[in-house]
Each structure stands twice: as C-alpha cells, then as structure tokens.
Symmetry: C2
Subunit: 314 residues, 2 copies
C-alpha cells in the first residue's frame, strides 16, 4: 500500500486547468512535487511548486522531469478534440508517440505508477448506453479520443510487460477555478467570460447537447485516490453522473451571476456527441469516491473566482 505522504510526484502537462488544481491539492500532502509544462496558466497559484519548463517534443526534458519520482501524473495533451481531426498523423505522433517515449523513461527511472487523465467525453464516441459505464464500446468520433484510447492500451501493455503500474481516469467535463476560455475548451469558463464582458455567446448547435459537468475539486480528489488504489480495476469514469444541456448551463450562469446572457445558437459540429454522461459506479466501489459538489454550488464558486480575475487572464 502506497502512502501518499512518502511519494515524490510530478504532474506532466500540469500548467493548465486540471494540473493547476491538482498541484494545489497535492502540495503539502506528498513528499515532493514538481510540475512540468510548456507554460503555467496561473503561475501565482503554484508558488512553491518547482516548475520544469518543457513539452512532449523534448524527450530529454520529460525524462529529467520524471527522474526520482514515484508517481507520474500524465496530463500532457498536444491537441484538442477539434484540432486533432485536422492532422491526425501529427496528433498520433505527438500524443501517442510522446507517451511511449515517456513510458520508457518511467521504466528506466523506476517510476512506480502512472496516473493518466483520459477523456470520458470523447472515448466512447456516440454512446449506445447513457449513463455510460467503462465497459461500453469505445468508438471515438475524434482523433483526440482515438489517441487517448491508444494510450490507455499502451499503459495496460506496459503494466503487463514491465510491471509499471497505472490507473486511468476517464474524466467527463471538468469545470471550476483556473479554467480559462482558451483553446476552445471549457465551455463554462467561456460562457462566464462572455457574461462578464456582456458579449453574446455563440453556441454550436441548438443548445441541446448534454454533458456531464464535474467540479474540479471532485476530479482532483479522484486523482489522489487513484495513487493509492489497490483494487483490480484500472480504468475509472469520473463525472457527476448527471447530464446537463448547454441551455441548462446558460440558465445556471444567469442565475449565479444575475446577468442576462444573449446566446446565439448555430450549426452543430460533427465532433460533438449529442449526449455524454458517465456511469461512475466503479469509482464509487473501488476508489470510494463520489462527486460531492452540487452543480449550482460549483457554478457559484467558479463564478466567484472568474469575476475577480483580471480580464487578460481569462
């Protein structure tokens, strides 16, 4: 049984939304913590956490970041669902090729466990069963989902061949503080930013698209549980287990902000599955995890954070 307090950890790709929150959850609770990323979206949020600058295209820097660590959190992603389909070969090479080099470094540097943040929203494709359990068929409709799946399979293979432990968390749509509207991800942060600016929101489709929005603190709790988990399962859905449409999201933002939002609905995108909600029973059972933060509460906290943010940050 691993003891969190004694572990040296690195968060690869930890400069973004999930990584920043994860580092804040880990710091002080582990023996050592460092973050590896191209940039830090919120440097002031990570005071006291050593930052190694680099990305997936620099294998020697990745190796340096890993050296001496027991646990590697793998959050590195070179693309987004939308951008991945533009150049699938490059997406494959960056994300899967990069992961293979990273896993070889993990073997050689004696890492004990890799915790991988996979994508609950893209890996199943258009789900035949909602809420969707981990055992459902995986037929992604973005290259992003395919490469996430390939990485999951290589993790299994490395554990089988080399004893490098892993846990995969298929995270739904996380939201909360430190999410920014950049890179076309994070619809909640983007909508809130529009509310603050008083500018209309352009929505892909008619607003009926349903997602499983999970508050970031619940996600980081799950990631920490995965470090010490000893059960048989390897892959866990992490979501709130409830579906909310984009129209629900807009309504809730209006509620917590008191601002009326002008939403312009348009053409749907082929890359958006109509409905994605995760069945998280397995995480309940094996990680003893369940989402604690109610949507309205999480949205209020997110709003409180984002409205105090200098504009250029969001």
């Amino acid at each position: 049984m691993m003891d969190l307090k004694k572990l040296r950890c690195v968060v690869l790709g930890g400069g973004g939304f999930v990584g920043t929150n994860l580092c804040r959850a880990l710091v002080g609770h582990v023996a050592e913590l460092r973050v590896f990323s191209r940039r830090l979206s919120h440097e002031d949020a990570l005071v006291g956490v050593p930052w190694l600058r680099g990305d997936f295209t620099e294998p020697e820097k990745v190796r340096e970041a890993i050296r001496g660590c027991d646990v590697v959190f793998h959050l590195l992603t070179a693309t987004t669902p939308a951008s991945s389909n533009q150049d699938m070969a490059a997406d494959l090479q960056a994300n899967v090729g990069g992961t293979l080099r990273m896993l070889d470094a993990c073997r050689e540097e004696g890492v004990r466990r890799v915790i991988y943040v996979s994508s609950g929203g893209t890996i199943y494709g258009i789900p035949q069963q909602v809420p969707t359990p981990e055992t459902a068929p995986t037929s992604p409709i973005t290259a992003y989902g395919v490469t996430k799946l390939a990485v999951e399979k290589y993790l299994h293979l490395y554990e089988y061949l080399y004893g490098l432990e892993y846990r995969t968390l298929r995270v739904a749509n996380p939201y909360g503080p430190y999410q920014t509207a950049a890179k076309n991800q994070g619809v909640i942060a983007a909508f809130m930013r529009h509310a603050i600016d008083g500018s209309p929101i352009d929505v892909w489709g008619d607003g009926s698209v349903v997602r499983d929005y999970v508050y970031i603190d619940d996600v980081t709790t799950a990631l920490c549980s995965a470090v010490t988990h000893e059960g048989p399962a390897r892959t866990f859905n992490i979501g709130c287990g409830k579906g909310r449409s984009l129209r629900d999201v807009v309504a809730t933002i209006e509620e917590v902000s008191g601002i009326k939002i002008a939403a312009r609905y348009g053409e749907a995108r082929a890359i958006d599955v109509p409905r994605s909600v995760l069945d998280t029973s397995l995480a309940h059972e094996e990680l003893h995890w369940h989402p604690r933060v109610e949507f309205a509460d999480g949205m209020r906290r997110t709003w409180d954070w984002i409205r105090t943010l200098p504009r250029q940050k969001a």
Copy 2:
C-alpha cells in the same frame, strides 16, 4: 449494393500468405485486380495479377496503388506480434501512421470501401470469455494488437467523418497453402516443414497453448463477403470457433503426414495468450458466412501443398 464483378480492387500488402490466397480468390471475379507489396512470396501463384512494388514507407507508391480502385484490402503490416514489442514507437509510426496516410489517399482517390484484416488472436489480449465475441474487452498484450486496434478505431472515424466505408475482419490463426515458416508466424507451416526435414520442433511453452486455426479458403470467402456486406456491423471475428492446442496440431500433422515428429517443449513466451478462440456468430448472421473446411481436411490440403514445394520456398 455493390456488385463484386464491377469493382476495381487492390490488395495492399498482398504478397504474403493471406494476400496471395485472396488474389487467387478474386482474380476473374472482379473488374480489375492489382497487388501492392514489397515482394511476392509466390510470384508464380499470381500470374496475371499486376504487381506494384512498394511498401508502407512510400506514401506516393501507396497512393498510386490505390488510384482508380473502388475497394482497398488493407493487409499491410510492418511488424509481427513478437517484433512489435521491441520498438513500439517504430511499430506505431509504421502501422498506424502509415494507415492514416493511406486512408487520406483513399479519401482523395474516391475509394468506396476499405476491408481491413485485423488480428483476432491478439486484439482481445487474455480473454475473459472463450469463445470471445467482438464485444469483449480489448486489452492486447502486444504492441501489434494495440496498433491493430488503433487502426480499427481510425477506420470508424474515417467512415464517420468522411463516409469512407470499411469492414474489419478480426482473423484468428489462418493456415493453408502459400503459408511459409518465415517471420516466426504460421506455426502449422513451420511444423510441417520440420516434419519434411526430419528436424525436431522447438515449441514455446508446454504445448497447451490453444488457438483457433481457420483454413485460408474460409478466410478469403469472408473477405469477399465483406466487400458487398450492407448490414449494420463493421467488425467481424473470423475463425473456426474451435480451440486446438499445439499438441493437437502436432498430432494432426503426424496423422496426415505419417511422420513421427520430435517436439521439444520449452519456456512459454509472455506475448502468447494461453487460449484464443473466437465466437463467430456475428459473421454467421450478417455475412452469412461460416467456416466450411474441417481441420483434418484443411491440414491434409496444406500438407499436400507444402510437401511438393521446393525446399527454398518454405
């Protein structure tokens, strides 16, 4: 509904065992046929079939091979289950990267359907359910299996995004004429060669490893059925649905050849799953296909072919 007689077909990677048999099954039954491969294992078997020489590392040659074709049979594989684990990044780049370039060429050249030969023996990993249906979990224990799976997922994605049709056949362990003992694949051909030579056979493990051996003519029939198939399924197991151990194989070779074989059993390999047998109900249902050649009969035909072969060919 596609009419086989009107279709122009290319068999990519068609110079080996499955490809040679497939070309022989197609020639005269399609409007046009060509074969693309690095080499032809049995050139005399493919008289009258235009051969374009090249491999996966030459995108322009792949494109040339595809040009003007309605149907592409994708049999290109740059590695074997054993070799794939030696350099996973190279395996990924060659097989999956190469397939992506090929699929882009298919889109641009107006190909209607891709028929992919996947691996029923490696894609499931160590199966929890035997015989294994297509819906079983896929957890390969070789990089070979992971890249086959990734290609399956990209095929799904290309059909979804671009309307490029596909069918995937997860073929078990094919055997029959034109299989040679090269490349460490084709245990039946290898064992028969040893019987002819009177040399002892070295077997990985104690001979208890069970496989689903399917006669090659049954495989090519399935491949042809996949061309005109119009049902909802995309991925089919193709095997005989019965398991036979290596000891069974040795016994049957002794029976059909009348030669006593000296088998030396040794260490098992980590890459060999203990038992692999496919559930082929879906192919029965949708392709109206079932294996027709009994094992003893297929082994007799294989023996009759291999014993008349000049030694240097096998």
